[in-house]
Subunit: 481 residues, 2 copies
Amino acid sequence: MAGKDNKKLVAEITSMDEDFARWYTDIVKKADLIDYSSVKGCMIIRPYGYAIWENIQKILDARFKETGVENVYMPMFIPESLLKKEKDHVEGFAPEVAWVTHGGNERLAERLCVRPTSETLFCEHYANIIKSYRDLPKVYNQWCSVVRWEKTTRPFLRSREFLWQEGHTMHRTAKEAEERTVQMLNVYADFFENDLGIPVVKGRKTDKEKFAGAEATYTVEALMHDGKALQGGTSHNFGNGFAKAFDIQFLDNDNTLKYAYETSWGVSTRIIGGIIMTHGDDSGLVLPPSVAPIQVVVIPVQQHKDGVLEAAEGIADTLKAAGYRVKLDDSDQSPGWKFSEYEMRGVPLRIEIGPRDMAEGKCVIVRRDNREKTFVSLENLTNSVAEGLSNLRDALYEKALNNRNARTFVAKSFDELKDIAEKESGYIKAMWCGELECELKLKEEADVSSRCIPFEGEAVSDTCVCCGKPAKKLVYWGKAY
Amino acid sequence: MAGKDNKKLVAEITSMDEDFARWYTDIVKKADLIDYSSVKGCMIIRPYGYAIWENIQKILDARFKETGVENVYMPMFIPESLLKKEKDHVEGFAPEVAWVTHGGNERLAERLCVRPTSETLFCEHYANIIKSYRDLPKVYNQWCSVVRWEKTTRPFLRSREFLWQEGHTMHRTAKEAEERTVQMLNVYADFFENDLGIPVVKGRKTDKEKFAGAEATYTVEALMHDGKALQGGTSHNFGNGFAKAFDIQFLDNDNTLKYAYETSWGVSTRIIGGIIMTHGDDSGLVLPPSVAPIQVVVIPVQQHKDGVLEAAEGIADTLKAAGYRVKLDDSDQSPGWKFSEYEMRGVPLRIEIGPRDMAEGKCVIVRRDNREKTFVSLENLTNSVAEGLSNLRDALYEKALNNRNARTFVAKSFDELKDIAEKESGYIKAMWCGELECELKLKEEADVSSRCIPFEGEAVSDTCVCCGKPAKKLVYWGKAY
């Protein structure tokens, strides 16, 4: 960072209104979240980016475990024959997997794909260990990386390799599987809304958009600042389709053999892209406190003056002791440079302390989102920080919700929908007959895809926005990342 | 676990004296640490095994971060041309890597190997981000899986894919790099000895045994119950060889361009194999408390009787509140079955509570390692558990140290060494002239490899045990996993 100055740093970010895609790429690079490598389509997640992921993992992993989840690790390779066991599944994934054909100098007898997802491996294992109803449920998860050979890639949003968690569970009854599917969706929704300050729409995917091999896919959809949607996390109910393909049967207490019911659910490093595009601004990242690697940065002003550095250290120590992630920047950069630098990095709160503040027993807290300055008493610092972080979380949520509300439209006819899709960017709520044909036509002629059939939401008309036949479902349509 | 009975369970483990290799395989399977899959040479790490790994990670990750380590994530693929950039390195690894040749249906322009280790990727990244002495040191680490196409595999000890951490650091001076190399070796040594109760010998690898591309490899070597050695963790000083191959130069404060100095260091899931083979016995696993997924199991006796279950729950709650990992087993299996089950799983302490104990305000604590029973007052329970766990850790270390001492031999002549190597299993301390020829001859004719040149240890004679020329170094020789 040496040698950069304040103005140069900020000037390096493209304005989001000017070019949202470039603004995004500028941020992931300039905030040191990622770097590129000679491995095309893959990214290096740098310390600051990875620390966000570690915080996401820590929160979610604890929530998962509260619901009885146990972590495991499956091999990263899947033999071609195993991948092919469930028909829909292999059709969905085979075109985009990476194939290992040689081990050392020897050609393998059977190709192995690098896991794009691990349903097949979990099923093979479950077939091995599930014998009786007493062995159920099994609620496993793994944190790992997966590979999908994408043509076009963007950091965090779409890359050939990405980090994620994949939960795979087995149940005695269809009802229990459905409950687990919804339960995990709710864990995701709660995490997005309460921890990340990102409002989501919970709903079900259409058959066209559901996961390869699933009976039902549920999703949490978030709307980015530019009005494009991001699928934040998905939870799938497989019924017993995979259990039949993999022969996962158990002896029930009525002494008959039954197939088990399966779910899977996952979120990925894509969440980081969602945070950037929901909360970021022209000065850089804005991080929700729950996952910010640095929650509070302490910046001494006129630090060469008597006692300033000691006071700054005292503040940092107090806040660390209270459990906050704190950084004291006592480097020889100017305060102005530091202000910009930590704004770029999205640190939620900045504390400034100089000789005059000290004399008054105060310091200044500046919020990253609205730059609001508050003079607070040093005696009451920990409470002020708690309040500041909490208010910032609420404000982020509020702002994102307002953006979503302003960008949510209703269309009752095809022309209306097409018109909105051309002029605006956001969700279009419109009714649907349930036919694939209409979904395809909307994609082709209005360039929108179905984001989800929301769990909540009232009919906006009686007829399908596309064909005019009686409508079955309300659908959120939009353009997506 | 339903339907198994006490006797059957224990009878399923081969005695370690009868067949150590089978005893090991029995344990990893019967204690539900791993399962096999259709992916040859790879293993599934099951919840109980993975929980041990999570505990290992948690402890080490915190220790790393205390020394300034930052975590990152690098791509899992390495283009062939990148792997080839450092000559010794590619020669060491190319014969045992898995090659990806196709993405989807397309043949790749250049093959990618699945990382066997990531020096090359880290170096490419470092070349990109290190410009000035102010950018140094860089102290990065990643937790991930790596792949080496081994012919013969054994769970945890040698598998085609395994989990590990790999630290890669860059420094301004050779001295600083050497200090970091030794610092991380000491972190490992401390973890093995104090947390896992496994005594280690710290030392340097001979040139023959060092890491491909390293100037020096340091190791912590542990001796297993059967007298075979296990390389527990290694720390490498690369000098500036990789920096030259990857052009990692920085402008120093004397305004000249200099090559940076590199280290790398890692430990893997092999540690779990080491724990099993150091502490296990004929009843199963014996886990050091620091990494045991369950530190205390509470087993109610005559649990149908008034108040027993409540008392057991009270004990479990008290210990959980004190921060211990506790399981209450109130299933309808017999207490005898439960005793065997948790012995098999290596749970350090078992607490039994029945009506008579309750009446006396007491419970029974049974230690896994020596089965010592202590009646303790419920009032003082938390202290008794702390003491029990601490004593068990000490006893494990003591026992392992005694085993190592009993299995450490000294040889002053080739015949003596060969004789010991044939009759005994353990370390043989013997002097070495430093020539590769002698090292190869010992391997070929006495079937021992050099484990390390210990940091501490006095000369046992003046001449090389092999050629009789003046000796330069004391070496620990042995057979290894």
